[in-house]
Amino acid sequence: MTSEELPGEELFLDRFPDEAQVVRASLWSAFVALGIGALAGIVQALHRVGYVRFIDSADYYTVLTLHGVLLVISFTIFFLVGLFTWAVTRSLDRPVENIRFTWAWYLTMVAGTVLAGVAILGGFVDSIPISADVLFTFYAPLQAHPLFYAGLAVFIIGTWLAGFDWFRSWWIWRSENDGRIPLQTFMVLTSMLMWYIATIGVAISVVFFLLPWSLGIIDQVNPLLTRTLFWYFGHPVVYFWLMPAYLLWYTVLPSISGGRLFSDPLARVVFVLFLILSTPVGIHHQYLDPGIAEGFKFIAMTNTMFLLLPSLLTAFTVVASMEHGARQRGGEGYLSWLGALPWRDPAFTGMALAGLMFAAGGFSGMVNAGMNINYLIHNTLWVPGHFHLTVGTAVALTFMAATYWLLPQLTRRRLYSRTIGLFQVVMWFVGMVLMSNAMHRAGLVGIPRRTAEPQYDGFAFDAGLSSVAELDAQVAIGGTLLFVSVVLFLGNLIISLLEDPMEGTVDRSLPPALSGPEDSPEVLDNLSLWVAIALLLVLLAYSLPIGAIVADGGLFGPGTESYPVVLSWLEVVT
């Protein structure tokens, strides 16, 4: 059975009008964040290289915090909750249980974003005593206004409630239906379980340490402890960004390519592996932190290398599904089937280019993950170079491409211009090749990240095969292309919405996998088992390091009354 033989599905917005409204609201929130984030991006890119300085260098961290938080917290997660609501509703084919509850978690997330956003923007105005120039990692001793931490906490509570909403739909579905968890719902549930486990770390860090500290309730924190709790969350969060992109690659991309998913069981295995493996690795972001024993870092590195497996499985399954699609469309030969893919469709081309860049990001990620070579690139521009390929392209470009595909079923509007859409995704790819390539190269020669005015003039500096000026030019040109690409994306969407609604329907049915759920072992759907294993691994990876950090540095820092007190006591005695 091919997709043509399936009846054109009823549009999502006709079948589930209330849910479609929430999905649209979530996506729009994501795109507002994307627009502002991209503006911050171009401002800082041009500032760093010294071409145009719109802001004072003292405000660089305000802009960078805005960029980081809006893009990797607001943009990604708002898109995710919209997409997951769509995926659960359509794959269970049932409305949410209580639409008021659904709006409640959405509004909670909006409230959190506004609180944190106000705190960050306050940094631009000297007369307001509010700022949060702490970057998206908020390492102590950098301190933000309490509003920032409160906003983060509120935002995360919103995502927890959203997860509950989807679990509740599934529980009720399960009581009325037999059989396997539908694939998209399975992906949502495993992602959320991972998210619950991961966010415990950042919740503890924010609620027990950073928020009381910024409120003045406690005098100090143990910075190594809050950093470790952050990265306990910070690695799984990268998979939280990726899993919706994977959901799209597994369940939507095959159909756009004209075929069917190669293997449902493999897709389930991949999501289970992410659930159990993504948390016990966070220490790989802390290879250079003193105070964590090398042995623990080595364990984190080993776990990280295991995480390559699900990504390689994904590469295989997704490419196999695309090949199946191409052959359905008449493609032949060893490689010439590539030509039969729908390259004219921005949804396809965007996702395909995103996947390709993800492969490159995977390679540079292996360098980050290796304990020894990490020392070479740690805290250099290499690192932003890496994650602009992963979250900044694999995820962001997939989301933009998927929006082109989702648009008709969510808004009853056709995309205003497919040509602009195609141009936009290709432009993102080219811009990112330039910017990310230059960032990687700059990092290799030691040019730092998070720096407003890196200075390389007036002395001899060996920038490898090129020169600092050449790398700067690549960053500036690439960044500009990326910014223009976002403008084209948003403009195309807005104009589409201004057009008249279209008549009839579009076929957005998702054909079943070639090897369906009946081929996958039942145990894959045993979510409690996987959660238990995940928690066990967390315990193994983290109990000793955290114990040691607290023993060495104190739960709330080492205390302020150390040597001087002892010395004065000695003086009294003698």
Binding site: A326, R329, G330, G331, E332, G333, S336, L338, G339, A340, L341, P342, W343, R344, T349, L353, L422, F423, V426, F429, V430, V433, L434, N437, L465, S466, Q474
Partner: protein
């Protein structure tokens, strides 16, 4: 064999070329060839021309064997 290469397809092919163009000097250095900026510019211009010619040749050939539809590249 497959049909003609559309303009969309050409756009994608050129996009794939960008990394090669950007790092062409590195690539050449791997083979022990060090290029000056001038030589580099000539080389990558040549590269792009070669690809454009190849695509044109392909399309001319595909054009003679009819069937130039395909939603493909």
């Amino acid at each position: 064999m497959s049909g003609r290469i559309s303009r969309a397809g050409l756009l994608v092919i050129l996009a794939f070329l960008v990394p090669v163009i950007v790092e062409f000097r590195t690539l050449a250095a791997l083979f022990g060839v060090s290029l000056s900026v001038g030589q580099y510019l000539v080389a990558v211009t040549g590269l792009v021309m070669a690809v454009l010619l190849a695509v044109t040749a392909w399309n001319l050939r595909a054009g003679t064997t009819a069937d130039d539809h395909t939603g493909g590249a």
